[in-house]
Point group: C2
Chain length 294, copies 2
């Protein structure tokens, strides 16, 4: 139902080349080439940079969000027409930061997902990176730390997610026998989530005047992995209070510092919304209100 030419354009981007796009669409490379050319002619803009892998031109990039919205709208229209038929569940791509996914997010969306028969396509990335996913139309909504919405989007404040500095008890005994001192912090192996993750650095700089890069650290881009690292006594790091709570209670982790690093989360979404997206946003807002601090 969506224009063939748009689908070809999208496939080339996702597959990286005309040939693989053709394979996916069960066409020849030539046909894909023609479709894309036609689309470019109609819009009067070059949409693809023919490199490997193929990349969108600025114009092409601006087209992507509309494609995602088109998809959603088509799916919605079909549901509105034949609500009880199984069209295959509606697939919604959303960007979530790993810690939200590991803590409050699933509970937040569970009910809506069930009732509306959705399939969520959770794209996990760092807090601030989820925003880029939205800009490129890869997701229709995302949890982000950025407060300002892009043009065409809206943002709602979800709440504050406090992180605490934690480690296994024996890790503390070994590395921080006298508490968090500048010296100890320069030696003790930290755990950070990912490359874009600057919470640890901010903490070290703010409270101990330590500069970036001057501390040994594991990089563990997985919420569960992060936790497991900490519990295993391999390092110390910032863990969402929500997630740490049970482990603290069981004595597997200890709280190293009174300070909390607060991360303010926002729900960003294209204003397509559609009934389902509106419900989802509502549910996320509600659940965040319950799970997060103000």
């Amino acid at each position: 139902m969506i224009d063939h030419r748009l689908l070809a354009f999208e496939a080339v981007l996702q597959e990286g080349s005309f040939e693989r796009a053709a394979r996916r669409l069960a066409l020849t490379q030539s046909a894909v080439s023609q479709r894309v050319k036609l689309l470019e002619a109609e819009l009067g803009q070059v949409l693809l940079v023919r490199s490997k892998p193929a990349r969108p031109t600025p114009a092409g990039r601006r087209l992507l969000p509309y494609l995602a919205q088109l998809r959603l709208m088509e799916a919605e229209a079909r549901r509105a027409l034949a609500p009880r038929q199984a069209h295959g569940p509606l697939r919604l791509a959303v960007g979530v930061n790993a810690d939200s996914l590991a803590t409050w997010f699933i509970g937040a969306v569970a009910e809506v997902v069930q009732e509306e028969g959705l399939v969520l396509d959770c794209v996990v990335d760092d807090q601030d990176h989820t925003h880029a996913l939205l800009a490129e139309g890869e997701v229709l909504g995302c949890v982000s730390t950025r407060p300002d919405p892009m043009r065409g989007c809206a943002a709602e404040r979800l709440g504050v997610m406090p992180y605490l500095c934690a480690a296994a008890p024996d890790f503390r005994a070994r590395w921080f026998p006298r508490g968090l001192t500048r010296n100890a912090l320069e030696q003790a192996p930290a755990i950070v989530f990912g490359r874009h993750d600057d919470m640890h650095e901010v903490f070290l700089r703010r409270h101990f005047g330590l500069d970036a890069g001057h501390y040994p650290h594991h990089v563990v881009p997985s919420s569960e992995g992060f936790m497991a690292f900490a519990v295993a006594g391999l390092g110390y790091g910032f863990i969402p209070e929500l997630q740490a709570r049970a482990h603290l209670a069981r004595g597997e982790l200890v709280d190293l510092a009174p300070e909390r690093e607060d991360v303010v989360l926002y729900w960003h979404h294209w204003q397509v919304q559609s009934p389902v997206m509106a419900r989802l946003a509502q549910a996320i807002g509600d659940a965040a209100g319950r799970a997060l601090d103000r």
Copy 2:
């Protein structure tokens, strides 16, 4: 860019028959018939009742809003790609009640319309009827008195529009020498806006216990006409305070009763929004905040 079959379906509805739709689309009747049939087959639903004029089935009706949204999105996408090119201005259909249009509405949208290069398609109807226009996809947003949004839509409170009971001074002297009495009200010719307009009845019932239909009344479905009727001394009726103000000052009208009939207005819109719709909603909200009471 929008699916041919959808366009055929729409044209048949707008023109009332397959033949005229074919003429508009520069096709044969046969082609239109085939397109519609194809669409119906794809969706697994009959969309059109083949009567004269052709009407949508319930399924067809549910499809209409999506068509309107599709249109908007396509226009938006084109603008996003080539902002400076003149694509022909973006056409936005909005439902407005006559009194808003005659008073605050134009000022509210003027700036956005200019800056974004829009063409507004104002559909004027009674306060509550504008809602139906939204449901059928005829408009993308509307000013209505209904507070509750439909599924897939959102509603924002704009403010209160107070109406006062007014007439020309000589009309008062002639019909209401002793003020508004039950007897006089049963005799004096009222002016009401339209068939769906129940403000006058509500007023008579609430304050004087008069039943519906027991008063003579002109029906004048035009805001200016309504005003002219009143100024000419042909009747009395409820006029927006905003609109009456100048006439009261000039002595052309007098205020007949201390009571005000308050109409609460809401802005309803499909959640497509799109950047332009978002700006429009913002502007309308702002202007309403200035022009209307809380």
